[in-house]
C-alpha cells in the first residue's frame, strides 16, 4: 500500500516509525558512535588496521586520504589542521550537513527536510573537483603539497 500523501499544513506525525525513520535512526546512531570513537582515538597513532589500498600499493594519495585523521582534528576543534589533512572532505562536510540534519528531524519530528534536487552541472562539477583534487595533491610542488596529508 502506498504511503499517504500529506496535506500541506498537516502536522508532522511524531508517533509513526516508518521504515525510513528507522533507517535514519540507525544512521544517526552510527554517526554518533563513529564520532565518539574518532574523538577518543587518534588515527595517526593506531594506523595499520585499516589502510587505504591505493596508498599502500602506489604510494600516492587517493582523494580520501587523510579524511579520518582530519575528522579527528575537527572533533578536537583544530579546523586548520583538519583542512591541511584533507581540504576536499572538510569542504564537502557542510553540504552533507543538510541530509544529516534532515535525518535528525526525521527521527525527532517524524518529518525531514524537503529534498534538494542536485542540478546535473553541480553533479558533474563534483566529479571534476574530486578528480582534480586526486591529481593535484600528488604533485610534489608547493603550494600543491598543502593538499596532501
Amino acid at each position: 500500500m502506498a504511503t499517504q500523501a500529506e496535506a500541506v499544513d498537516a502536522p508532522a506525525e511524531v508517533a509513526r516509525w516508518t521504515h525510513a525513520r528507522r533507517w535514519a535512526a540507525l544512521e544517526l546512531f552510527a554517526v554518533a558512535a563513529a564520532a565518539a570513537f574518532l574523538y577518543a582515538v587518534n588515527p595517526s597513532q593506531w594506523s595499520p588496521w585499516l589502510q587505504c589500498p591505493f596508498h599502500a600499493v602506489t604510494g600516492l594519495d587517493c582523494p580520501g586520504c587523510g579524511t579520518v585523521r582530519a575528522l579527528h582534528q575537527l572533533l578536537h576543534g583544530h579546523v586548520l589542521a583538519a583542512l591541511r589533512l584533507n581540504a576536499l572532505s572538510m569542504s564537502l562536510l557542510p553540504f552533507l550537513g543538510y541530509p544529516f540534519l534532515s535525518n535528525v528531524m526525521l527521527v525527532a519530528r517524524g518529518r525531514g527536510f524537503p529534498r534538494v534536487m542536485v542540478p546535473w552541472a553541480v553533479g558533474w562539477s563534483l566529479v571534476a573537483v574530486v578528480l582534480a583534487f586526486w591529481v593535484l595533491r600528488n604533485i610534489p610542488v608547493w603550494p600543491l603539497t598543502l593538499l596532501a596529508p
Binding site: M1, A2, T3, Q4, A5, E6, A7, V8, A10, P48, W49, L50, Q51, C52, P53, F54, H55, A56, C62, P63, G64, C65, T67, V68, N86, L88, S89, L92, L96, P99, R111, G112, F113, P114, R115, M117, V118, P119, W120, V122, G123, W124, L126, V127, V130, L131
Partner: protein, 133 residues
C-alpha cells in the same frame, strides 16, 4: 476510493483520495509540494510479472561521496558519476533513466565499500602479521 499516483519530482508512489484532486499536497518521500492530478488510466498487465512499482528514487549522492572519501577505491568515483545523473533525469521526467542511474550508483557504492573493506583489511592484517616478526 484511493488512487495511487507518482510524485512528479522523485517518482515515489503515494495514495491520494478523490477529494484531493487539484489540491496541493506534500509528497511523503521527498517532501516537495505537488498538485494532485486527476487520475490517468494506467495499463495493468493481465498476467506475467508485475512491473516494479514506482518508488522513491534516491540520488545516492551522499553515499557515493562517503564511499569515495572513506573506501579509497576508484569505484566510488564511478558511483558519483551515476549519482550525479539521477536528479537531472528526474527533472526531465525520465523516471526509467533516473531509476537506472540510482541503481547503478547504489551497486557501485556497495562494490566500493566491499572492496575497500577487503583490500584495506587484508593490507592491515598483513601489516600486523609482518610487525609480529
Amino acid at each position: 476510493m484511493s488512487e495511487v499516483m507518482s510524485c512528479p519530482h522523485c517518482g515515489g508512489q503515494m495514495s491520494v483520495t478523490a477529494d484531493l484532486n487539484g489540491q496541493v499536497v506534500i509528497c511523503p518521500h521527498c517532501r516537495k509540494q505537488l498538485t494532485v492530478a486527476p487520475p490517468v488510466a494506467q495499463p495493468i498487465p493481465a498476467r506475467g510479472p508485475v512491473p516494479v512499482a514506482a518508488g522513491y528514487i534516491s540520488n545516492r549522492l551522499v553515499e557515493a561521496i562517503l564511499v569515495t572519501l572513506f573506501c579509497c577505491m576508484p569505484f566510488g568515483i564511478v558511483a558519483i558519476v551515476y549519482a550525479a545523473q539521477v536528479d537531472g533525469k528526474l527533472a526531465s521526467r525520465d523516471f526509467t533513466g533516473a531509476r537506472y542511474a540510482s541503481e547503478k550508483a547504489k551497486n557501485w557504492c556497495i562494490a566500493a565499500f566491499v572492496c575497500g573493506l577487503i583490500l584495506g583489511g587484508s593490507i592491515g592484517l598483513l601489516a600486523l602479521a609482518g610487525a609480529r616478526h
